[in-house]
């Protein structure tokens, strides 16, 4: 079945427990994408539209790299695919390119940029760090993870980052603590100066980084990952409150000013299908026998 599909997997690597990297043959996307943008992947006929950030691209060979965490039904199914197999749909690039890329060179060259990557957030951070280095800037980067085993893309980012700092929650690698501890350490103890922080990771992390950088008075860009359907501005599922405005993350973002995003609302919206997703997993385990109109789960 998957052989008839267009978007062939040309490389697959396991980066950490349940975190995978894949190269996908998608020439139109590869030809036009920039750091900061994302794609939507659909596994097969019955699949969901899954938004994933572009982690790298090879324009000459028409390849786009994605990194994903096998979390729920769709991403776990993706993880079962192997090199040579293919996905039905892969579209993009979606969203705007990173704000840094469109910033006038003269302006950006005066800015000291710190990237803060949490968990799989290292994937979207990587192409931005790479782009900056290749364009003559010297960004610093913090990677935060639960433990040593979950630090991904370290070597790749180290190649391009001026300084790379690693923190783990359990102290198994790098500094013990979370990314905010690292930011405080760099700014308050080491006296480092940053003009821009780019924070990408779980929403809760981006929220707390933004609170801290507000206190430290550092401009902060975050990359929002709300629930999406089409990714082209057609449904409004991805809407967020930014300042006093409603923004569609898929077309107005995914990057926004972290000091203006209403994270609490965004996190509530992200949990909207929790019960539904739970239901899907139950169905997989128990088959359709579970499907009963009076079932409590169905009523929720």
């Amino acid at each position: 079945m998957s052989k008839d599909y267009t978007y062939v997997i040309t490389r697959k690597e396991k980066l950490a427990e349940s975190i995978y990297l894949m190269d996908i043959k998608a020439p139109r996307v590869a030809a036009h994408c920039y750091p900061g943008q994302f794609v939507i992947l659909k596994i097969d006929e019955k699949g969901e539209r899954i938004p994933l950030t572009i982690c790298d691209y090879d324009r000459d060979n028409g390849i786009v790299t994605i990194v994903f965490q096998a979390l729920g039904h769709s991403t776990k199914l993706m993880a079962e695919y192997e090199v040579g197999e293919a996905f039905r749909d892969f579209t993009g690039p979606l969203g705007k390119k990173s704000e840094l890329i469109d910033m006038p060179r003269e302006e950006l060259s005066k800015k000291k940029v710190l990237f803060v990557a949490g968990g799989v957030g290292a994937a979207p951070v990587y192409p931005q760090v790479k782009w900056m280095k290749e364009n003559g800037y010297e960004p610093d980067c913090i990677i935060g993870a639960r433990s040593k085993d979950f630090v991904i893309l370290e070597d790749q980012i180290r190649q391009y980052a001026n300084n790379l700092y690693i923190t783990t929650d359990d102290g198994s690698y790098g500094m013990k603590g979370n990314v905010n501890d690292a930011i405080r350490h760099l700014v308050q103890e080491k006296g480092k100066h940053y003009d821009i922080v780019v924070a990408i990771g779980p929403m809760i992390m981006m929220k707390f980084v933004s609170l801290l950088t507000k206190e430290l008075n550092i401009k902060t860009i975050v990359s929002m990952n709300p629930i999406m359907v089409d990714g082209t501005g057609m449904c409004g599922a991805c809407r967020l409150t930014v300042g006093n405005e409603i923004k569609f993350a898929c077309v107005d973002g995914p990057e926004f000013d972290g000091h203006l995003v209403n994270f609490d609302e965004a996190m509530k919206r992200l949990s909207m299908y929790k019960t539904k997703e739970g239901k899907k997993i139950l169905r997989e385990k128990e088959g359709e026998t579970h499907h009963h109109k009076d079932c409590q789960i169905h009523k929720e």
Binding site: H32, G47, R88, G92, T232, C235, G236, K268, R283
Partner: protein, 463 residues
């Protein structure tokens, strides 16, 4: 037989159909179609044709039905329309062809739409498809968007021998026909897909997952990929919201999201992976076809549904047939009511909606009486899901990435009405992207006009 009355058409019983997504209207049998066709008096100056935006030779095809030559009836329709099985189902016939039918003066108009649908269904069931052109001219034309405007333009150009590629942003071609209009009004597998397959049979290429303005620009298509003309039929897909408090709560959706989940992603079918929130008590805000579709979808997913509309029943913009079906199925209507705030519980979910009563004041530009709030008339309705169906706007993706393409204040592409020519040489446009939300057949009419204009433009260019 009473010639003043239509031959009745079979429909699924309302009490049965509220539990499924199967088509409501079951269509005519051959005998019924012949009988209904015999009501047409074959006017010398058929007024019905003037009411059809693509000027189908209506008495012509009806006459073939009377004779029992359905294949020939299909050939007649195919000269004018690429999507008869679709138009026969979703055209607002009562305000177009059928409104002008001479039979309608004393009795009921001839059921032109239902007959058109019968012919198209018969042709499909008997594997009759339009034939590919004998000679191809090899000239490349790009069509952006695979809604009715794009599909029609592509069909006409392919028949003229052009090498046509349709670019579609989504993973499935069809535009609103697949993502918006529900299965129970327009079956996808049985009706929409075959009509799109017919296009492929004509040699039209369809590239899905290509977002013009993102995956590639119009300038690149013309300068690097060798397309000599472009037709933009990108629709008007951007949803509006009201801007009231609580609108970002969990359980508030645009009709587009709700319908896309159900139709395009098939969330109503538990074999598909996309989830949908069904809700127990659903309010749908708005009164157009889209609102009816969202309401009837929510109903089928098991909810108790109320349509909240700020004017009175008389002003409902939805088709009469849709309102009638919605009522039969048990949808409640709350007229002269406008939401002011969505009430949210501590977990961020909708728990109610505060509304005000409205009354109708002076007429506005559209000739409809403007609704005004009745003071101190606030009241709360208990709902757990709200679907906003407040109209849509064109997507700025294409206009903002194409050099020299002019749009108006509302973001609609500006064109010459007769040709669809935009401000950019070689680029034409039509359908909702130009007019804002309109109808399937108007979009098709625009696609047709543009195909003709593109042909003339390319002939002149080659000379």
């Amino acid at each position: 037989m009473d010639k003043l009355k239509r031959v009745p058409i079979k429909e699924q019983d309302p009490s049965v159909r509220v539990n499924n997504f199967d088509e409501v209207c079951l269509g005519y049998t051959l005998d019924e179609a012949k009988e209904e066709a015999s009501r047409c008096i074959q006017c010398k100056n058929p007024r019905c044709v003037e009411g059809c935006p693509v000027s189908i030779n209506i008495p012509g095809f009806i006459n073939e039905i009377v004779k029992g030559d359905i294949e020939e009836a299909f050939n007649v329709i195919s000269k004018y329309s690429a999507l008869p099985a679709i138009c026969g189902r979703v055209c607002p016939q009562e305000t177009q062809c059928e409104e002008r039918c001479i039979r309608g003066i004393k009795g009921e108009a001839v059921a032109i739409g239902k007959l058109e649908r019968f012919v198209a269904d018969w042709a499909r069931e008997n594997n009759i498809a339009p034939k590919p052109p004998k000679e191809k001219n090899g000239i490349k034309v790009a069509v952006i968007g695979s809604g009715p405007a794009g599909l029609t333009c592509a069909k006409d150009l392919a028949e003229l021998g052009y090498d046509v590629t349709v670019f579609e942003a989504l993973h499935e071609p069809g535009g609103v026909l697949v993502y918006g209009i529900p299965e129970f009004r327009l079956p996808k597998e049985e009706v929409v897909k075959p009509e799109i397959e017919n296009l492929r049979a004509l040699g039209v290429k369809i590239e899905t997952n290509v977002i013009i303005g993102k995956s590639v620009t119009i300038d690149e298509l013309m300068e690097e990929e060798g397309f000599e003309a472009v037709f933009i039929g990108s629709g008007a897909g951007l949803p509006n919201f009201m801007g009231i408090p609580g609108e970002n709560a969990n359980g508030v959706f645009s009709a587009n999201e709700y319908l896309t989940r159900s139709n395009l992603m098939k969330a109503f079918d538990s074999n598909y992976d996309t989830p949908i929130i069904t809700g127990k008590k659903v309010a749908v805000v708005g009164g157009g076809n889209v609102a009816m579709d969202a309401a009837r979808t929510a109903l089928r997913l098991g909810a108790d549904v109320t349509i909240v509309y700020r004017r009175s029943e008389k002003e409902l913009p939805a088709r009469v047939e849709e309102v009638h079906h919605a009522k039969e199925e048990g949808i409640h209507f709350m007229f002269l009511t406008n939401p002011k705030e969505i009430l949210v519980d501590e977990n961020g979910w909708v728990k109610g909606m505060r509304c005000v009563k409205m009354e109708l004041g002076e007429e506005d530009q559209s000739g409809r009486r403007r609704p005004v709030e009745v003071e101190n008339s606030d009241f709360i309705i208990e709902v757990d899901t709200v679907i906003m169906s407040l109209g849509t706007r064109p997507n700025p993706l294409i206009s903002s990435t194409t050099h020299g393409l002019e749009t108006n204040r509302r973001g609609c592409i500006i064109v010459d009405e007769e040709t669809g020519q935009t401000s950019r040489e070689g680029v034409f446009a039509g359908g909702d992207a130009v007019t804002g939300s309109a109808t399937v057949i108007q979009a098709m009419g625009a696609g047709k006009k543009a195909a003709k204009a593109i042909h003339e433009y390319l002939l002149a260019k080659k000379r």
